[in-house]
């Protein structure tokens, strides 16, 4: 209750950390703990090779999950990223084979990714299909086109210039890690330092209020699905360059780990909160855990179980922190 004549608001509380900061600090701490524990348990963990290997695997997961993170913060969902990655990979591989130009492959992959994203946006905005259903449909459509296009073949064997994107090094660090750092930095700046980035949070927190505040929500949404598609295309290029092959089974297994990376990072599926740095941490944690299980000789059959447990724990922990902040 407010009184007009009280000199200062009485509800002032001691300064406390915002829940977002808490989430990031907790995750950094978790990564440090796992790292310390593992270096004492396994002599191979703390080697440069192993650490770079972990980050390189995390970078692919992050690229797929980064566009998804933006879409989820805005209150949407993109289930088509895995299949979109497959389609981009197959089409770009074929384009490179046909033209022997890596640039043709890059253009095809990024173009295909954006186009699938645009279709998602149109389905949601114009045809009024909920994001879950629209992108779920696109998952099957993109996958189907990839199967038809490849007709059971595998495209493999690319020039070293193209493979540099997946397996090359720059300043001693694998190229995919550089790509992760650059796109991550761009994404963080986009979310925190552009008006569109701020609008993403508003539309995710309350879409009706965002519309009635004059935010062009439909256009912003289309843009975000296009960015999500673009990131799938970029991930496809790096994946093909790393595997030196493309076939219709490569993207689909990445969808659920990407969602897991977003959740473990601490971005809420309900929209309105989260961030890209958090997804980077989430992808790192998931990769780190799998690496730990491998080093400790735990059977691979247990990996999904552990991943699931971590996702649930992360979501529960965030819920507890948010409840604390709300009091």
């Amino acid at each position: 209750m407010t009184t007009m004549d009280s000199p200062a608001p009485v509800i002032r509380r001691p300064q406390q950390l915002a829940p977002g900061t808490v989430a990031v600090v907790v995750r950094l701490g978790l990564i440090a703990c796992i790292a310390v524990l593992l270096s004492s348990l396994s002599p191979t963990f703390a080697t440069t090779d192993n650490l770079l290997n972990i980050l390189r695997q995390a970078s692919l997961l992050f690229l797929v999950a980064s566009g998804l993170t933006l879409v989820i913060i805005a209150g949407g969902l993109d289930l088509s990223i895995g299949a979109n990655l497959t389609l981009c990979a197959c089409l770009s591989a074929a384009a490179i084979k046909a033209t022997s130009q890596p640039t043709a492959g890059i253009a095809v992959a990024l173009g295909c990714g954006v186009l699938v994203g645009l279709t998602n946006g149109v389905l949601i905005n114009r045809v009024k299909i909920p994001p879950f259903l629209a992108t779920f449909g696109m998952l099957w459509v993109a996958q189907g086109i990839a199967y038809w296009f490849m007709a059971g073949q595998v495209v493999y064997g690319f020039s070293p210039a193209f493979r540099f994107f997946g397996s090359g090094f720059w300043l001693g660090v694998p190229v995919p890690i550089w790509v992760m750092l650059v796109t991550g930095a761009c994404g963080v700046i986009f979310l925190s330092r552009t008006t569109i980035g701020r609008e993403v949070y508003l539309m995710g927190a309350n879409e009706a209020a965002a519309v009635l505040s004059g935010i062009p929500v439909a256009r912003r949404r289309t843009l975000l699905y296009m960015v999500s598609g673009l990131m799938a295309g970029l991930a496809a290029l790096i994946y093909v360059a790393r595997l030196n092959a493309a076939e219709p089974g490569i993207g689909e297994p990445l969808l659920l780990p990407a969602i897991a990376a977003v959740l473990v990072g601490g971005t809420s599926l309900f929209g309105g909160s989260g961030g890209l740095f958090r997804t980077l941490l989430g992808a790192t944690i998931l990769t780190l855990i799998v690496n730990a299980l491998n080093l400790l000789n735990v059977s691979a059959t247990w990996h999904p179980f552990v991943t699931g447990a971590i996702v649930v724990l992360a979501v529960l922990a965030d819920a507890a922190v948010n409840r604390g902040a709300r009091r």
Binding site: M1, T2, T3, M4, S6, P9, I11, R12, R13, A18, S192, R193, T194, T195, I196, G197, R198, E199, Y201, L202, A205, N206, A208, A209, A210, V211, L212, S213, G214, I215, P216, G272, S273, A325, R326
Partner: protein
Amino acid sequence: MLANRESPDGGPETMAVRPGRDQGTAEPLLRLIDISKSFPGVHALRGVSLEIHAGEVHVILGQNGAGKSSLIKVLCGAYLADDGVIEHKGRRIAIQGPADANGIGVGVIFQEFSLAPYLDIAQNIFLGRERAFAKAGIIDKAAMHAAARDVLAQLGLNYDTWTFAADLGVAQQQMVEIAKALSQNSSILVMDEPTAAISERESERLFEVIARLKQRGVAIVYISHRMREVVALGDRITVMRDGAVVASYRRDEVSPDEMVGAMIGRSLAGLKRREALAAGAPVLTVTNLQTAKLTDISLEIRAGEVVGLAGLVGSGRTEVVRAIFGADPLRTGVIRLDGADFAQRPDRSTRAGLALLPEDRKREGLALPLAVGENATAAALWRLFRRGWFAPSVAEKVCRNLITRLNIATPGPAQFVRNLSGGNQQKVVLGKWLAAGSRLFMLDEPTRGVDIGAKTEIYRLIDDLAKDGAAVLVISSELPELIHLCDRAYVMRDYRIVGHLGRNELSEKAILDLAVHQ
């Protein structure tokens, strides 16, 4: 459009509370004595007494916020009365929950129906009571549908009981609700504004059904503010105002004028009318606007004017401002700002200088999970950061200025907006539009759920806006508030503007005469 009316006598009329004249007649089916209910800061019901008789229609009449809905909720067990006595057939009882209400045969037809869309009519009527038709654990569908047809026949209806509720029109759904209540042997049927969403012809059908129910000895509590229905249906009429019963009549004792007189008379203590300013050039002109719901809306607002949009809830006031803002599509009509066309789309309207403060601030006005600062700049990002680069320091400065200017009680821009009181939240929504530099403010119920202190501040702010040359359109269900704030007002009924009242014509009586069906 101008309604010619005599100049009213101004001050709020006082109305003597008439004692109920029901003594001496038969024993009432249900008698409420001195029922009170309060919530923190609000007296929803103050000592309400009411008699409900079998075979009679008892109309409850009153403005929005008079306490009609609270009364229904006490009757159906949704609210537990703080104080008072309820007698059923002369025996004192307690209604402590929906089960108790069902036990004495109270059935309620709410405005929002609760039918399961993909169950058929028979399944809906007997929902939760299928066991009555079970034979060895299997439902005898034939028997259930026969029973459903039987209930509908009692209402004079001949529906195909296999139809899904989703395929029924609003009026038919209402009939199924009534049949459902009847099948539960309801002896007291409460109807909350049953004709609000149905056509004239369907209303006639409803009145026939009500007549049949009366013959069967069902008591009907009928909430409405349509004078024509009140006169046509009501055997007893009770008028409520500010949570209390102000008058109770038998139909033959009272004229519509007298009832309207009893409905008004609330006052805002210590409020003088806002001083009128010299109006400038027209800011907004709306000509023959038509949407899916609205017909033929024309209005004009000038710079420095505060114009009211009066009417009862559901008369189309919100739809008008939404259409002007571009939130709902237009069919036809011309909307001009400063004499120029602009695209009817919320983002364009915002940039053109329109502001909309929505009726439901939690659902449409604020992003509750976000901070005060993020909300306060939500409508102004385009203006503060023309190149699209966001600077947190600038946003924070703008927000701090708003906090000072609007006297928002919050530790700072980083505070979550959900932790603010209703009045301070509303100031954040207003601040959003101040930051956006709007020139036309459309305020839909700006003081709903706001404490007295913040209310006065919002009034002062509206006055300041007008002095600065902005145009303000105010929607309010609180007539004293409208009269206090507005230079003139348009009155709506049934999605049309039915009249315009100039400064000297503006009174509660004049507004209600236009807003209520006669």
